[in-house]
């Protein structure tokens, strides 16, 4: 049994949100530079140049790259031999979020869905815990903006739809979203499972490092084909025309029921904001 103090969990969450909001994920700015080379429309090139410049300003000034600093999503893989001491795990995460959003001058965007009254400190966080082997805790933070989150969709397809039905659904999601999710986007696609696990799987794809395609050859092929089909729609950066709407498509799958073919699509903007640490 290894002890992990709540204070260190709180401090890690705080730092990870500050980092994720002010620095693009590794490799993202390179993808935007490549995309810019591939555009001919002057306004498409200008948009991509601005996004690259914006990433530089945010990093240099340690200021949020985007004003939508999101809902605080936290994935936590908790080793079953880790013992959290000095408080409750969930409280430590919430306090880390609270401090990050106050200290970093991040926008507080969380409110009651019906009264629309803001909670004032961007809590509660959305926390996804998973018990894993080992004695460590691995934390991923995703400040999830809702321009992209709002465009996400799930479909419980019939098995008869097959691979073609899955591909058509994902392309249709992109086509319907247009410029709203801040393209060029990253798409997380979940296949299989149940209604909720499929959605979760699609979001987990956003934790992948840039440039890492699926190790499953069939899924890797689907990722490449989806990206080709979506970019061929010509929607381009910000949906205003061009060659790059989608920077990467990531597909994950898990077993499902004989009656089912669930598919979920989670959109993420061009920054792919996330940060990771292990305690």
């Amino acid at each position: 049994m290894r002890e992990i103090a709540c204070d260190s969990i709180r401090d890690a969450v705080r730092l990870l949100f500050l980092e994720a909001c002010t620095a693009p994920a590794d490799g993202v700015t390179g993808l935007l530079a490549d995309a810019r080379q591939g555009e001919t429309l002057p306004h498409a090139r200008e948009i991509l140049a601005q996004l690259i410049e914006n990433n530089g300003i945010a990093q240099r000034e340690r200021t949020p790259a985007c004003q939508d600093t999101g809902m605080a999503v936290v994935f936590a893989d908790i080793g079953q031999d880790a013992h959290v001491v000095g408080g409750f795990f969930g409280d430590a995460v919430e306090e880390g979020v609270r401090q990050a959003y106050a200290d970093g001058y991040l926008r507080k965007s969380v409110l009651d869905p019906l009264t629309r009254k803001n909670t004032g400190d961007n809590t509660p966080a959305v926390i996804h815990e998973r018990i894993v082997p080992g004695d460590r805790i691995k934390l991923w933070t995703l400040p999830k903006g809702f321009g992209s989150e709002n465009m996400s969709r799930i479909a419980m397809l019939s098995p008869s739809a097959g691979v073609d039905g899955v591909m058509d659904f994902v392309v249709d999601c992109a086509s319907g979203a247009g410029g709203s999710p801040c393209p060029p986007v990253f798409l997380g696609v979940g296949l299989g499972g149940t209604f909720e696990s499929c959605a979760m799987l699609s979001k987990r794809q956003l934790l992948r490092e840039v440039g890492a395609c699926s190790p499953d050859p069939q899924l890797a092929e689907m990722e490449a084909e989806l990206k080709r089909r979506i970019n061929a729609l010509g929607m381009g950066p910000m949906g205003m025309g061009g060659n790059t709407y989608c920077l990467e498509v990531r597909v994950g799958k898990e077993p499902t029921h004989i009656a089912a073919l669930p598919v979920a699509v989670n959109f993420c903007c061009h920054m792919l904001r996330h940060a990771v640490a292990e305690l």
């Binding site: 996004l51 926008r107 965007s109 709203s180």
Partner: protein, 173 residues
């Protein structure tokens, strides 16, 4: 590239064409979901509005808090689509320019044509860069809404692209 100063003249608006790159200078008002709801409710009740809509430019944005020494925090555009329910009412009441990101409903496009207005787009996610083009910020209404309050921003050479022009030509079709 076109350089424009607010408020726009009829000629300025007529000269805009979808896809054109613009640098905009002058005063704009921020309003997003909650502020739009209130403005449209005030109009429906025939009450006085907190700022003059006639000829106004509305920027769909809710900034981050300003750090000490900053005019404003990160302040990029939000999605225009969520204001579809309100935008035609505001165009019909004098708004000449909206600034946001992404597509709008067909009804909004028609109200832009009807009112000889225009929709300009800022780069979504470029909030830090855009904040460098804001030289003054003052809350003018609905302070209780926090980030969603109406602010008058003075922008200087704000980089934009014409999304929908006064003839109804759109980059989103």
């Amino acid at each position: 590239m076109v350089t424009l100063r607010l408020p726009l003249t009829e000629k300025d608006i007529e000269g805009l064409e979808a896809g054109m790159r613009v640098r905009l200078t002058g005063d704009v008002y921020t309003a997003r979901d909650a502020a739009h709801k209130r403005l449209v409710e005030l109009i429906a009740r025939g009450e006085k509005l907190p700022f003059d809509l006639d000829g106004a430019a509305i920027y769909y944005a809710g900034p981050c808090p300003a750090k000490p020494g900053q005019v404003i925090g990160s302040c990029g555009p939000t999605s225009a689509i969520r204001m579809d329910a309100y935008a035609p009412v505001l165009f019909d009441h004098g708004v000449r320019l909206t600034i946001a990101k992404g597509p709008v409903a067909e009804e909004v496009r028609r109200s832009i044509v009807r009112n000889r207005a225009a929709y300009l787009c800022a780069a979504g996610g470029a909030g830090a860069l855009i904040s460098h083009h804001i030289t003054a910020a003052e809350t003018v209404a609905f302070e209780d809404l926090g980030t969603e309050a109406v602010r008058r921003l003075t922008v200087c050479e704000l980089p934009l692209i014409v999304g929908i022009d006064s003839k109804g030509e759109s980059l989103f079709q």
